[in-house]
Structure formats: C-alpha cells, structure tokens
Amino acid sequence: MYETVVMRYLINFLIKYSIVLLFLLLEVVSFRMLIKNTEYQRNVFLSSSNSVVAFFYQAASSITDFFKLRSSNESLSEENTELKNQIMSLKKELEAAHSELSDSLNHSQYVEQEYRFIDAKVINNSTNKIQNYITINKGERDGVRPDMGVINEDGVVGVVSTVSERFSVIIPVLNPKLQIVSKFERSNYTGPIAWSGEDYRYVNLLDIARHVDFNQGDSLVTSGFTTAFPEGIPVGTVEDFQIKDGDPYYNIKVKLAVNFRTLSHVKVIDYLFYFEQKELEERTQQ
C-alpha cells in the first residue's frame, strides 16, 4: 500500500518535471560531447567529413571556386616557376657531383624519397571562430591519415584530425588545440606557436627565453621534431615583440606565412617512414 503511494508520487513527479528532465538530459549530453571533444573528434559521423555534410560543402565550393580561380592560378604559376628554377639548379649540382664522383669512385648515390605530397582542395574553411576547422576533398582512399601535416605553397596550414573515405578535417594553426613547434631559421631556438583567437593573420610564439637574440622580420620555420612536418617549412615572420621586466619569456607576435582567408589548395604531407618511426618509438617506450 505504502509503496504504491510512493510510486504514484514518483510518477507524478516525473510527469510534472518531464520537460525539465528532458532539458537537463539534452544539456548533459551536449556538454559531455563538448568536454570529451577529442573522443568525438575521431567520430566521422559527427564531423564535416560526414558525407552528407561534405556533399553540401563540395557543391558550395564548386561555385565559390570559380571566383578564386584567378588568384589561385597566379599563385600556382608562381610556384611552378620557382620549382622549375629549383630543378634547374639541382640538375646542375647533380651533374657537378656526378663528374666529381666518377673521377674518384665508381659509386652512384641513391637518395631515398622521404615525403610524398597529396594535393587536395579546400571545400570548407573558417577563420572567424575561436576554434577553426578546414575540410578538404581527400580522404582515406587517397592515403590521408590522421596526424599528417598540411601545407600550401606559402607555408604551414595545419594537421589532419578526422578522416573519412573521401574527405578529411584539418585543425589549422588558427585553433588553440594545435600548437606547432617552430624555430628561428637563423638561430635554431624552438618554441610552440599558439593562436589567441583574435586575428587570423597573427599567432604568438611562446617559450622564447630572455637571452635569445632575434630581430623583427626574422623568419620562423618548422622544427622537424614531429612526423607531421619536414624541417624548414615556413611558419611566419616576427612582426613585433616585447618583454616585461622580470618575465623570463618574450611576448612575440608572429605574422603567419599563409593567408587563411584565401586558402584554396593544400598539400597533405605523407611521411613515408611514419610507421617505421612510430613503431621504433613505441618499442623504446615499452
């Protein structure tokens, strides 16, 4: 008898507050997703590499691409010329080296290829959020894996986060979740760069100690400590710096090499010895 009364109260309570309970449930679910972000980030269905979402983005980008054709053409032809020049000078060097070698030693040097580039088109991109993301039209099928580095002809863009069959999501430099270790090209001092969430043109360089010597306009490149980027890819240049009395570290403002507003084509870097290096590192840690 007593139990049925309690049950009735309980049921009444649930009916009376069902809306509030449903509301709380939904908020808890979404808040959990927000906090456990990294777990869900690998979930293809819930990201823009989901094929329905990517379909809309691709359709839309095929329209906007038309307006970007001119500028991307220009930058491509610039890059083309530069590459041709490099090939020419490398050829000369190779010839010179060959003639020297054949004199003294009968030995042909074989240089193994370390990196392969996967060309991709940006189909969605934001610069005005605090956490920005980029979606590209290449995925697992084309050999893209999570944690690969992404660059364009000007410099570092970001790192691959989620990969589906045909699309991938990139965490760009313009996202506080990504801190790329970079170094001064001149002095080799390293520090991570972090975005403050305000201006898409600038990031901050952290952890540069008081004694380090550098100037305005010094260029920053990738350190090559991670498998994502080879050494020496441009990150940006020192725009401004200051240090407060008693602070051990400089406050450095870096102008990014890449213009994220006009991003259209990127290259994903496939480090060919990735698995070998990872396996070796894991074995050492065990």
Partner: protein, 168 residues
C-alpha cells in the same frame, strides 16, 4: 500537414543559409551571424514543449556537424528551446489555447522585439563563452557575443518585414 512541411522547409533552408553563406561571412573580423536560431523563434506557441526541445537539440547538432564543434551549438539551442515558452509568457499576454506563430503581427512590435532580443542574446552569450571555454578574454568574448547578437537581431527583424508585407 501544410504547416509541418513549411516548418521542415524553414529548418532546411535556415541550416543551408547558415552553413553555406553566413558561416563564410566575416563582418569586421569578429561578428558571426547565427540566423539559424530563427527556426526556434518561429515555432508556433502551442508546439509541445518536448518537441521544441528535441527540435532545438537536433538543429544544434546539425550545426555542430557542419562546423566541427561537438555539442557547442546543441547546448545553446537546447537552452533557447527550453526558455522559449517562459520568455513568451513574460512578454506576450496572449490567451491560452490559441496557437500563434511568433511574429510582429501576432506579438506586436514591442513584444516580438523583446522576445527575439532575449532569446538571441542568451543563445549568442552561451555559444561564444562555451566556444572560448574560458573567461580570460572576457571583454573581447562579451563584445563579440553582443555585437553578433545585434547583427542576428537585425537580420531576424529583416525577415519580419517580409512577413508584414505578405500579410497585407
């Protein structure tokens, strides 16, 4: 039946407008317009509360899929969906049992403005502060949220003039 189709159409159109057009517009560097919230603002007042909550949550979840922000929009839209009925009670004195489509025509200009402003500001504040997930740049985040709310409000009011013209 016709009403359901119309709301479904509005749902799809607002999401597409948001993700394909407005998410790419960066006004003054800081301002984001989140017009998709207009879907919740234009649900009829007699819609079951649980349905408003579910629809709001779904709307947010779809926005999250498009912008890779897990749970961020869903949290904000569920909050707005929950507050929808109480806010209407606050500002609009309407008789019970009559389902109204919120607009300048039905709520009156003052009533609709207050209703829209409150919900838009709550939505944008939640969204921007959750996105920042810190109070470090408090004033920057606050100004971004409020400026964006203002712009969203203007666009919402803009759509109202369409509906006034239609009814005449």
């Amino acid at each position: 039946m016709f009403h359901i189709v119309r709301h479904l159409l509005r749902f799809v159109l607002l999401i597409l407008l948001q993700v394909l057009v407005l998410n790419n517009i960066q006004f003054l560097g800081y301002i984001n317009i989140y017009i998709y919230i207009l879907f919740i603002l234009s649900l009829p007042t007699q819609t079951p509360k649980w349905l408003i909550l579910i629809l709001g949550f779904l709307l947010g979840l779809i926005m999250d899929m498009f912008s890779n922000t897990m749970g961020l929009h869903a949290f904000a839209t569920a909050l707005v969906a929950f507050l929808y009925a109480p806010v209407i009670h606050l500002f609009v004195s309407s008789e019970e049992n009559i389902s109204l489509q919120p607009s300048v025509n039905t709520f009156g200009i003052g009533g609709y403005f207050k209703f829209a402003v409150i919900l838009i500001v709550i939505h944008h504040l939640t969204l921007f502060f959750l996105e920042a997930f810190t109070f470090i740049n408090f004033w920057i985040t606050l100004s971004r949220a409020l400026l964006s709310s203002g712009c969203t409000f203007l666009v919402v009011i803009g759509t109202q003039f369409f509906s006034i013209n239609k009814s005449k």
